[in-house]
């Protein structure tokens, strides 16, 4: 599988393994084609999770992960890509419907936009909230003071 895709995509794709867990690091331009290939040709029909990590010091600030599982192969893999702040990714909702809420959560927590998502709005935080809490530059005690004062009628939520 790895060789086949290496030949097809060349330097845009790298296959790695850490502690026995395999993952692909792919170029942003290969999303969502590569994900679609994994589902259709390699039977990765269950999207376990979509999540991200923030590295504020890097030029491309975000790592986005798709964790996939194949019932037929009993195998789990990860796909990882890097994007810059403000860049968006194509939604994988057409590939796995479960991506709906998972992508909404990534948007809610990191502010990463997914093009083609049917309704990309906040899911855990209230709709009017400012800021994205899981970014590294968002402090642990930080909050949207204005939202708290207007909606809860108190000085601070702490």
């Amino acid at each position: 599988m790895v060789e086949k895709y290496k030949k097809q995509y060349g330097s845009g794709l790298e296959a790695q393994s850490y502690l026995g867990q395999n993952y692909f690091t792919v170029d942003r331009s290969l999303i969502p084609d590569f994900l679609k290939l994994l589902r259709d040709d390699e039977q990765f029909d269950y999207c376990v999770d979509i999540t991200a990590t923030h590295y504020p010091k890097r030029e491309k600030q975000f790592d986005v992960f798709w964790i996939l599982y194949s019932f037929a192969r009993n195998e789990r893999i990860r796909v990882k890509t890097q994007i810059a702040d403000g860049e968006s990714l194509p939604s994988s909702f057409p590939i796995w419907p479960t991506a709906d809420w998972l992508e909404r959560e990534v948007f809610d927590m990191f502010g990463i936009k997914f093009d083609g998502h049917p309704c990309l709005k906040r899911i855990l935080l209230p709709d009017g909230w400012q800021g994205f809490p899981l970014r590294k530059d968002y402090g642990i005690l930080q909050q949207d003071k204005e939202w708290v004062q207007i909606n809860l009628g108190i000085e601070s939520g702490q």
């Binding site: 029909d45 376990v48 964790i67 789990r76 796995w96 479960t98 642990i140």
Partner: protein, 396 residues
């Protein structure tokens, strides 16, 4: 009239017709109210939503046309807290997510960090872990059964299950001092040695519990009202279940024989002999049967484990200061509600760079819309009960 009916909801234009449960109520140029359509609000303070879940229902008479879940009322930012605590300090926090299955949460987290450190818990610790986790699965399923039956109108099972769950909580309390948020495990093994009489307590429970299960089943399994309220309600096909990422008893009730304890065994589950019960129709009744059989299988696992606890240490050699090397790891276990995964990124320091929890309830709840569409409004309550959500885990 027809034109109004043709105005599609977002989930109806999507290719697979699944997943997106957004009613799009705010769009002014899109009339969403037909003469006999009604939008009503359920929750967040509603006894049948198992916490603070709010569901907006779009109804045509008694028929549900669509739903939208509004969640986040219990959001505490567990993932953010993790980034500001050491690996050891974060351990008790995971108990507060799925608080009716705290032991499972702890097991998943401890094993994920162990994997990152490349250590393994000793065999004796694994046996203790399996016994406590399976006991916790029983406790969690008992809460599910009691509340689910109560929502549908059967009040007796609630008293029965809570009475019997007490026996499990007593074992937890004797073992680690806590009943609910147990913090039973540590990274590398268990902190506490088994107390004197632990085996006896567990064996007593094993002889006490199966007759109680017969009691529950006598109340419900053949009960005409129960069957009418659950059969063919909230159907979920295997294909839809996989596409929606549904796991645990819900997936198995749809006919997919998949259990992480068998597929990707962790701890020492491969040493035990147990069946993975599956259903055929993927309706609420099948999910009830699957969970009931699962409880009996858990008893089998506990029985084998308690008779084979080996001697030896209960802690692996773990450095005083936990500093995993740079890397990422994903580890998941079969929690009572489905696949509970931890994705941990280490930057080589004493605090995790990122902890992502893959919550089973959150993903399973997404299937609500698919399951209740076209059903009656009274069935929404039955379906919320059958998903077995814990809002502490949905919102984290």
């Amino acid at each position: 009239m027809n034109e109004l009916k043709d105005k599609s909801l977002p989930h109806e234009v999507s290719p697979s017709n699944l997943g997106s449960s957004n009613l799009d109520l705010d769009t002014p140029d899109k009339p969403y109210l037909d003469s006999n359509e009604l939008i009503i609000n359920m929750g967040p303070q509603h006894p049948a939503t198992h916490g603070v879940l709010r569901v907006i229902l779009k109804l045509d008479g008694e028929k549900v046309l669509g739903t939208e879940c509004v969640i986040g009322y219990l959001h505490r930012g567990v993932e953010k807290i993790a980034e500001n605590r050491t690996y050891t300090m974060f351990n008790p926090y995971v108990d507060r997510m799925d608080y009716v299955a705290a032991v499972s949460n702890g097991l998943g987290y401890c094993q994920a960090v162990e994997k990152l450190l490349n250590i393994e818990a000793p065999p004796r610790a694994n046996y203790i872990r399996v016994i406590l986790t399976e006991l916790n699965r029983l406790a969690s399923h008992q809460i599910w059964l009691g509340t689910h039956a109560l929502d549908i109108g059967a009040m007796t099972p609630l008293f029965y299950t809570f009475r019997d769950r007490e026996e499990i909580l007593k074992i937890f309390e004797k073992y680690c001092g806590a009943r609910l948020t147990t913090h039973a495990f540590r990274i590398g093994g268990c902190q506490y040695e088994l107390y004197n009489g632990f085996e006896k307590d567990v064996k007593n429970f094993l002889s006490f519990f199966p007759p109680k299960m017969d009691e529950y089943e006598a109340l419900l399994t053949g009960n005409r009202i129960w069957i009418d309220r659950t059969k063919n309600v909230g159907m979920l096909s295997a294909k839809d279940a996989i596409a929606l990422g549904v796991t645990g008893p819900m997936l198995r009730a749809s006919g997919v024989k998949w259990d992480i304890r068998k597929a990707i065994p962790y701890a020492n589950y491969k040493d035990f002999d147990f069946e993975v019960p599956i259903g055929q129709n993927g309706d609420t009744y099948d999910r009830y049967l699957v969970r009931m059989q699962e409880m009996r299988q858990s008893c089998r696992i506990i029985e084998q484990a308690v008779n084979g606890i080996p001697e030896g240490p209960i802690m692996a050699k773990v450095p005083k200061v936990i500093k995993p090397p740079v890397g990422e790891i994903y580890h998941s276990i079969e929690a009572p509600k489905g696949e509970l995964g931890y994705f941990i990124v280490s930057d080589g320091s004493t605090q995790p760079y990122r902890v992502r929890v893959r919550p089973p309830s959150f993903v399973n709840l997404q299937a609500l819309d698919t399951m209740v569409k076209g059903q009656l409004v009274a069935d929404v309550v039955a379906v919320i009960g059958t998903i077995d959500i814990v809002l502490g885990e949905v919102d984290r």
